[in-house]
Symmetry: C2
Subunit: 274 residues, 2 copies
């Protein structure tokens, strides 16, 4: 059985970086989950004694504190500084960017519009850096009845689609004299989707590895099914069934943005043994 990995799959740059930081800081704590993947959080605790602490009051000021990939609110950052603990910032640089933009632009008097999900930790963090109340919208429809000034700065949550971002930008440009548009979208998720689309066309079976409830993983499965008849979604190698691979020659592999490399490696190893 030949196994081919999608050109892009699994963790993005920011998540890989955060995990590397955690592995280098044995016995540290993270404020909130470092990334959105429980198996990986458990591994970091088991192998590197890195704890995840949800309540800021419960953080131990004698241990290093790692800031998670999605970032935290500016006020919480100050509270951590006041504890005099050693702080290690694992905020993804793609998330730090809109935080800084909001801080600077609101300080220059621009109205701030954030295109994203107000309930997501990343967006909550970005919002907290604005010196005036930001306008947070999930789509252009929500913008229509909002009052926006004549000078506006626009940023996006990193995981949003550029087409929808442009709809928001366009309405703002029609209405305001100056719109400073900062394209803060990270293409990692969409790169994974593009890669599985290309891969599935040349395979007779495709295995997608990731959480069954993960929306980006299910999206990968859906795309693969458009191009290949035999597609399966598994959380780890234990769910593989040998019979799937009968009469198959080329197996493609992709993985959700929350799937660690070591799970991918185990799956690939087992399939190669068939």
């Amino acid at each position: 059985m030949e196994v081919v990995l999608a050109k892009k799959l699994g963790f993005c740059f920011g998540v890989k970086r955060a995990i590397s930081i955690a592995e280098q800081n044995i016995n540290a704590q993270t404020f909130g989950p470092l990334i959105h993947n429980k198996k990986e959080i458990d591994r970091l605790k088991r192998n590197f004694y890195v704890d995840s602490v949800d309540d800021i009051e419960n953080l131990d000021s004698d241990r290093k504190i790692i800031i998670r990939t999605h970032g935290i609110a500016k006020g919480d950052f100050q509270t951590l500084k006041d504890k005099n603990s050693e702080i290690i910032d694992a905020t993804c640089p793609f998330v730090t960017k809109p935080q800084k933009i909001c801080e600077e632009m609101s300080g220059c008097g621009y109205d701030i519009v954030i295109f994203g999900d107000i309930s997501h930790p990343e967006v909550k963090g970005v919002m907290s850096y604005s010196k005036k109340e930001p306008i947070v919208i999930l789509d252009v429809e929500e913008l229509k009845d909002k009052k926006v000034g004549d000078r506006v700065a626009l940023v996006s949550q990193t995981t949003r689609r550029v087409e929808k971002f442009l709809e928001v930008a366009n309405l703002l440009i029609k209405r305001s004299s100056e719109v400073r548009v900062f394209n803060t979208i990270c293409n990692a998720t969409f790169d994974n989707q593009d890669a599985v689309k290309e891969l599935a066309q040349s395979c007779d079976i495709v295995i997608i590895i990731g959480g069954k409830n993960s929306s980006n993983t299910k999206q990968l499965l859906k795309i693969a099914k458009n191009y290949c008849h035999s597609c399966y979604l598994i959380e780890d190698e234990n769910e593989l069934l040998k019979e799937w691979f009968e009469d198959k020659k080329m197996c493609g592999i992709s993985a959700g943005a929350s799937t660690p490399e070591w799970i991918i490696d185990s799956v690939v190893g087992k399939i190669k043994d068939y």
Copy 2:
């Protein structure tokens, strides 16, 4: 015969302002034609002794110099200042705005993109204010093979369509980290078009007044014809034919952006007499 004027027609704010300036400065000179309308230029010469001088070398430094509505190049402005003549700036404020933006943004290191016609005096003037070579494009297609930096400022010629401007903005936003979009479009031309569309629906004859070669005038005629069967384009009242108005009750009037009010008044007066 009832005669109704379109809610918006003829000269825009900037042209009206420039003519008023010329009328108040008897014996002045304009560097190039003040506006794009020969009959009006002739009237200013006849009644107010305002000359139009095409060559900067031929301007008389003992007479006031009026800067035309579309603006002039920054270097020419300096040459005029060096003559120590009295300069009266009749540049439309909607044109001064993109000039200032280009100067400031290029000074701050932004690449400059101008959406407009490189052969138009307005665009030539705006270009001259950029401290680095600006990119001038007539549509998004022309932008596709242009190399643009990561920080871009975008302005528009005042008479361009916002939909086409957004196409340019969108491609820039996809490619660059920061795009400062300045909506410098003036809606005067489109307001005239919207107004004739509304007017033609309630009239049984529509008269459009303007140059037979004027593209914005022909556009008004085309729109009117969609809503009314009897539409005529005339340059002045001498072209009116009484037979057009037989059995008609309501006559709508519109005029191109280069049609002076006194021509409109003459036409209206003659039709009312029928």
